[in-house]
Subunit: 429 residues, 2 copies
Amino acid sequence: MRTRPLKVALLGCGVVGSEVARIMTTHADDLAARIGAPVELAGVAVRRPDKVREGIDPALVTTDATALVKRGDLDIVVEVIGGIEPARTLITTAFEHGASVVSANKALLAQDGAALHAAADEHGKDLYYEAAVAGAIPLIRPLRESLAGDKVNRVLGIVNGTTNFILDKMDTTGAGYQEALDEATALGYAEADPTADVEGFDAAAKAAILAGIAFHTRVRLDDVYREGMSEVTAADFASAKEMGCTIKLLAICERAGDGASVTARVHPAMIPLSHPLASVRGAYNAVFVESDASGQLMFYGPGAGGAPTASAVLGDLVAVGRNRISGTTGPGESAYAALPVSSMGEVVTRYHISLDVADKPGVLAQVATVFAEHGVSIDTVRQQGKDGEASLVVVTHRASDAALGGTVEALRNLDTVRGVASIMRVEGE
Amino acid sequence: MRTRPLKVALLGCGVVGSEVARIMTTHADDLAARIGAPVELAGVAVRRPDKVREGIDPALVTTDATALVKRGDLDIVVEVIGGIEPARTLITTAFEHGASVVSANKALLAQDGAALHAAADEHGKDLYYEAAVAGAIPLIRPLRESLAGDKVNRVLGIVNGTTNFILDKMDTTGAGYQEALDEATALGYAEADPTADVEGFDAAAKAAILAGIAFHTRVRLDDVYREGMSEVTAADFASAKEMGCTIKLLAICERAGDGASVTARVHPAMIPLSHPLASVRGAYNAVFVESDASGQLMFYGPGAGGAPTASAVLGDLVAVGRNRISGTTGPGESAYAALPVSSMGEVVTRYHISLDVADKPGVLAQVATVFAEHGVSIDTVRQQGKDGEASLVVVTHRASDAALGGTVEALRNLDTVRGVASIMRVEGE
């Protein structure tokens, strides 16, 4: 074992950072044995230096993160600040001054992953970020290493614990969206401003990262179609149940029809109760991966939280530490396939559409004609009358999102259609 | 990209080997991009040279595996022969002659993993074996790399597809063991001689490998307690259902009570229907990992089959290939913790015991006294009378296997106990 320690700087000391520091201390001997050298916490950059941080030597604490990453004697910089700046500049500065980087920053990786990888390569350093997607669940490493000899065709996942908690609550208790959100907030699963979670921004960042790794193609946050789950209603869950389904907010990355392009999207969707993702409860995350040789794999676990995320950070720390000692680097960005990213219109899936229609003869024929004119084939129709109005639930065969969009627009123009109550994609079949 | 190819020799060309060769050809460009150098199939050692092997140049085929691994120009030897010899000698010979090794050989790794790792280290070569446990499911790499900064406390898994198929069939159709086994054989899930699967030998080898990696401790096949599933009956499934459980053949590796030792075992067990492993159907495998920081993770997928296993082999091939090019090696054996392996008697769990007893007053008191005398605390008792005989189903609180064994022996000596119909451990609560 090398006796000279690896020097690690911590940028950020919140929920995740303080757990990283704690485990680095309590598990120091284990980490040393696994890396082949002791690790030394060389500095901690924080915003509020006066806060008491148990187990962290106050002499290590600084508010000058830039000076810390410029020290020149660091082996590894752990970035758990989050957000775009100053994280981006600090990471590139760390590379310039000889350190490798472990980051948990999904937003930054989804927006600027290519540039950060280029900076790491330029300086011959590692950039690892297992913690950026689905917390403790090993996902980046299996996708980029274990499945390196396989061809991934689809990644389908629940990658946001807050929204899964809310949807699970709606499913199991019949609660409405607001009631379930309130409970999630009270229990600490949702933040005061839940926008990033419920509108799918968080999941979209993870989808961009997963799609990039799965398909060896650069996929940016802007390439990801995004629809939140704040409009999912108790009625939608009732409809899902009638179909033997539940509703999950899914991140879906897949090769488009001919395999020559890829798509990435986040939206609520119905999935059959028999699908392994349907039984993912509470704030848990799970990611389903379909590939040529492996078939179907699933990775399940806690998708957030200080300790689980710290576990992912420390796994990367061990790997990067080992690389430092052997004078090498791990696999960097793999974007050689460089497939184009198709728009949402080219996504092909099934749809569940609820229409409020006039309860009179001929309506179904009119509606069916609109579907046929747009090349969208109907699988089942269920009609229910109530007080002169009726509802029509149509489930389609597979069709492109563009064709479905055209169909819905035309349906809205029918006099007999009072409104489109809901449109939901059906996945995982 | 390096233009000089990495030379790969294949030992064995059966179900897995032929898939490895096929993917090496069909995905040659992808593999080259991911490794950073083309890969070349340099030789294939087989037993039956005359068999037609589609897509493999007959000039590469040889029956002299020893000469092949002694060539001296090989970068990587892929061993998919299975069994102890000649696989063991071929692997060590490969190291001696400069090659790294990718193996799918669970029996060999479970028996001689330490010696093989030592040989790899001595020659500065890699030994990778993701395919040895649970087919395509990334498990070795997540355990030894992703969780390298965490402390694993328990690994609980369904690691044999044949037995899971049989138990699932018994559970869902009410079939008896023999009927379910016959169906598994007819469908190709069970071999003509199913002993290795149904008696738990296959799962025990995987348990030894998993325990070693999870606890950084050498665990050999002989250290693993093993009980097969051929005595599980339809009545056991009925009892399990009454408890809200199902029955799975589990491989369980855990730290013993005080954390100063480890245990590894394979046996049928009841697990609650709410446990994620309970819904693992058919021939699928899944492994549940509990650790300090990550909490509960699960890895799910096809545990066998040519293509899935080949996917795992090729993931290792890419990793080892990258290591060769950068002149390094990946993580080797990690056995620094060197914890003792405790015997089955020290395992602490819950038990479900069915007794056939005389249907007369005082029997329950007698039975309860025996449990108390052996320090085994009873959770629930259910008594059912029929024709002068009665059955008594006892579920215990947590107790050591030794204490339970003593209890059962004493119960057998009671005049009022006609027989012990079944004893089954209850796990995953």
